[in-house]
């Protein structure tokens, strides 16, 4: 018995040494792409295979992030430390750019630059390829609004929303609703309040690309008038939201409430189209603007949330550039972006339309030019997540009043360290 044990042990040790010689990743001399949406990983892998076959260059796709507890940024740092930086990776905005600045290639001369208006630029130079267009506003259930006698086209100001919410709230039982709006403010949904809703304060009603409010806030100057109106809007949303979803609900709970027609409005963006699909929600739905000001603000927030960038130290820059070009100019690439991955393309030469209703709604607002910018990335993630989000959370759980909310927000901007 012992002899068998010893023999097994020896075998295992030999095995270990054999493995130690480990064959490293130099098998394919192609390019590596790392992205942050695991749900489109399968489609991307398929497209990668198709592209490989037609171009003759190998490509490895890695998907990190989502809700697995590790973010793309973390994995990038780990891979960089390991000496394995990918050839193409994703950045979300200026903060990510600053971190990887010395590694990001200038792409101003690429063909696709001319066909998009939302490429990532710094000091006039183009660095990022927009992955998709995304937008959000107040998603509404067309059937419910019709039954309640509310015209979505009228929902463009705080006053209009207040009237509409009160009306629908009074008819909750008749319409089969649990609440008027499905809104979330718990700790792990801090991005709904401190990223998206916060952006209303920064850009609602302002010309696209206007940074005046952002600059003031960054310098600690708070426009109390604008902030007060914004606080009224936040209070409105919180008051007419399902309290369970608001204080403890997660993403599935919030989106699910809208999909099962338990809420008339949803505070999310067109990325919920796949969720609607999975839920079998076929009722008519579209976006209406946010009502964070007394004046009319007839537009929704549209931009590109993430960008592909090329590693300047890559050994295969030409191949990487070709991959990005092909996504825009080949049928296979366009098909992947719009039909397979269900994304709204950021390029004007692409005529395919995505299938999701909310994505189509974004496209409509975008073509009409009724868009406001995404400015929340001008503030650091740490500021939004660790300083602002708890304030929203306390307001949602009624620990602080509206005036205290305003004071806390003002103090946050005045004392901002990063």
């Amino acid at each position: 018995m012992r002899k068998i044990g010893v023999a097994a042990l020896v075998l295992l040790m030999i095995g270990a040494v054999v493995f130690a010689s480990g064959r490293p990743e130099t098998g394919r001399d192609g390019i590596t792409l790392m992205q942050n949406k695991p749900e489109i990983d399968a489609m991307l892998q398929d497209y990668g295979q198709v592209w490989s076959d037609s171009s003759g260059i190998g490509i490895t796709i890695k998907s990190v992030g989502g809700s697995s507890g590790t973010s793309l940024g973390q994995q990038l740092r780990a891979d960089y430390t390991a000496g394995e930086m990918p050839d193409i990776f994703i950045i979300a905005g200026i903060e990510d750019y600053r971190e990887w600045e010395s590694l990001i290639l200038d792409l101003s001369g690429e063909k696709w630059v001319a066909d998009t208006s939302v490429a990532f630029t710094v000091d006039g130079k183009v660095y990022g390829f927009p992955v998709a267009i995304e937008g959000w506003g107040m998603a509404y259930n067309g059937d419910i609004l019709k039954a309640a006698g509310v015209d979505p086209a009228s929902l463009t100001s705080y006053g209009a929303y207040k009237t509409a919410f009160q009306k629908i709230d009074g008819m909750k039982d008749k319409l089969g609703l649990d609440s008027v709006v499905s809104m979330a403010a718990s700790a792990d949904m801090g991005w709904v309040t401190a990223h998206h809703n916060f952006n209303s304060l920064l850009s609602n009603g302002l010309p696209y690309g206007d940074m005046s409010v952002v600059k003031d806030l960054q310098n600690g100057k708070v426009d109390q008038n604008r902030l007060q109106q914004y606080a009224d809007w936040v209070e409105l949303l919180f008051t007419y939201a399902d309290q369970t979803v608001l204080t403890t609900g997660n993403y599935d709970a919030q989106v699910g409430a809208f999909a099962t027609e338990k809420a008339a409005f949803l505070h999310q963006g067109n990325w919920v189209d796949p969720n609607m699909d999975a839920a079998g929600a076929t009722f008519p739905m579209a976006f209406a603007p946010h009502g964070s000001l007394k004046q009319v603000t007839d537009g929704i927030f549209v931009s590109a949330p993430s960008f592909y960038v090329i590693n300047a130290e890559s050994k295969n820059v030409a191949a990487a550039k070709q991959f990005l070009n092909d996504m825009v100019y080949t049928n296979a690439g366009q098909n992947f972006m719009v039909k397979e991955a269900g994304m709204l393309p950021a390029f004007s030469n692409i005529t395919l339309k995505p299938a999701g209703q909310l994505s189509q709604s974004v496209q409509k607002w975008s073509s009409a030019g009724k868009v406001y910018s995404w400015n929340q990335y001008q503030f650091s993630g740490e500021f939004r997540d660790q300083v602002l989000a708890p304030i929203y959370n306390q307001f949602a759980t009624k620990q602080i009043s509206k005036s205290e909310f305003v004071q806390a927000m003002t103090r946050a901007f005045e004392n901002r360290k990063n």
């Binding site: 960089y80 650091s380 660790q386």
Partner: protein, 306 residues
């Protein structure tokens, strides 16, 4: 009873594998990490701009941060409660599993099995239990209807969220600790019990005289493990409460159930400041070492007494 001399070949040969692994995997990275906490290191492209030595800056900054101080307090409270709950539960279960109950093998497996579910999913599961299952029970049973009120959800308030963390942490970990107590109890030679029986000892006397001292030895191990693991808790914290409901502390709004490990994680990865995270982790480490040294020495004294 000195078997070997320091120069003895067997001593070093037997120690070699673990020493090698330890140095390569733990010791050297630890020293490197400690060094980084005195710099502005960020492990990314910016490091190419040269590492700046910042002395104690990261450390002083962490002690001025209300969320870090709050995390300390809340983690200590959580640890104390958790240690007690887990060990009491584990001892009770260990006794049940080593007794004459008919289904004891079923219990042994059943109570251990929660440890099988990995950290993140565990949190999401229990989130569902607290947010959906318990209110559903409240809806079904009239006399428990307060459970169905959204105001009474456990995860909505900071103090009950901590209790929720303890519940989930204990549920996951009690079986693990139970195994150690079981190993200790089963290590008692049955002759001891038989001899006591012959001497006419009652069940209680047997328990007090034989079982308890045997468990006491395992106590040092289990206390240490539960203390350290509770203090380091991250997975369940992240997925169950994500830092939990916000609260006011030192005049600022901060997250109310953010334990130390999570606070360090947020500083390092959300705040993009790995060096500051390292500094906090070093402080974290020193505190745990102090706590566990105190705990072990107290336990050792008790052990000798018994």
């Amino acid at each position: 009873m000195n078997r070997f001399h320091r120069n003895n070949v067997t001593f070093w040969v037997f120690l070699a594998p673990v020493l090698f692994a330890f140095v390569m995997v733990v010791a050297i990275p630890f020293v490197i990490g400690g060094f980084y906490s005195f710099t502005d290191w960020n492990a990314t492209a910016r490091a190419g701009q040269g590492l700046k030595f910042v002395g104690l800056h990261n450390f002083t900054r962490s002690f001025q941060d209300p969320s870090f101080l709050y995390s300390f307090i809340i983690t200590t409270i959580y640890t104390l409660v958790n240690v007690v709950v887990i060990n009491v539960l584990a001892i009770v279960l260990a006794l049940a599993v080593t007794s004459k109950l008919r289904f004891r093998n079923l219990y042994r497996m059943g109570f251990f099995v929660p440890y099988l579910i990995g950290g993140l999913i565990l949190g999401y599961l229990w989130q569902f239990v607290f947010n959906n299952a318990i209110p559903a029970i409240g809806n079904a049973l009239p006399f428990l209807s307060t459970l169905a009120n959204p105001e009474n959800l456990m995860l909505r308030h900071v103090d009950t969220s901590i209790i929720a963390l303890v519940i989930v942490g204990s549920w996951q970990y009690a079986g693990y600790i139970m195994m150690i107590y079981v190993a200790a109890i089963e290590g008692v030679p049955t002759e001891l019990y038989e001899a006591a029986q012959i001497d006419g000892a009652s069940g209680w006397q047997k328990f007090r005289g034989i079982t308890v001292p045997m468990i006491a030895q395992a106590f040092t191990i289990t206390m240490f493990l539960t203390l350290v693991n509770s203090f380091k808790q991250f997975d369940v914290n992240y997925s169950l409460t994500a830092g939990g409901p916000a609260t006011s502390f030192m005049g600022e709004s901060i997250y109310g159930t953010e334990l130390l490990a999570m606070n360090i994680y947020k500083v390092a990865f959300v705040g993009n400041d790995l060096a500051a995270g390292q500094a906090r982790a070093v402080v974290f480490f020193v505190v745990i070492v102090v706590f566990s040294l105190v705990q072990v020495s107290i336990n050792k004294k008790k052990e000798l007494e018994l």
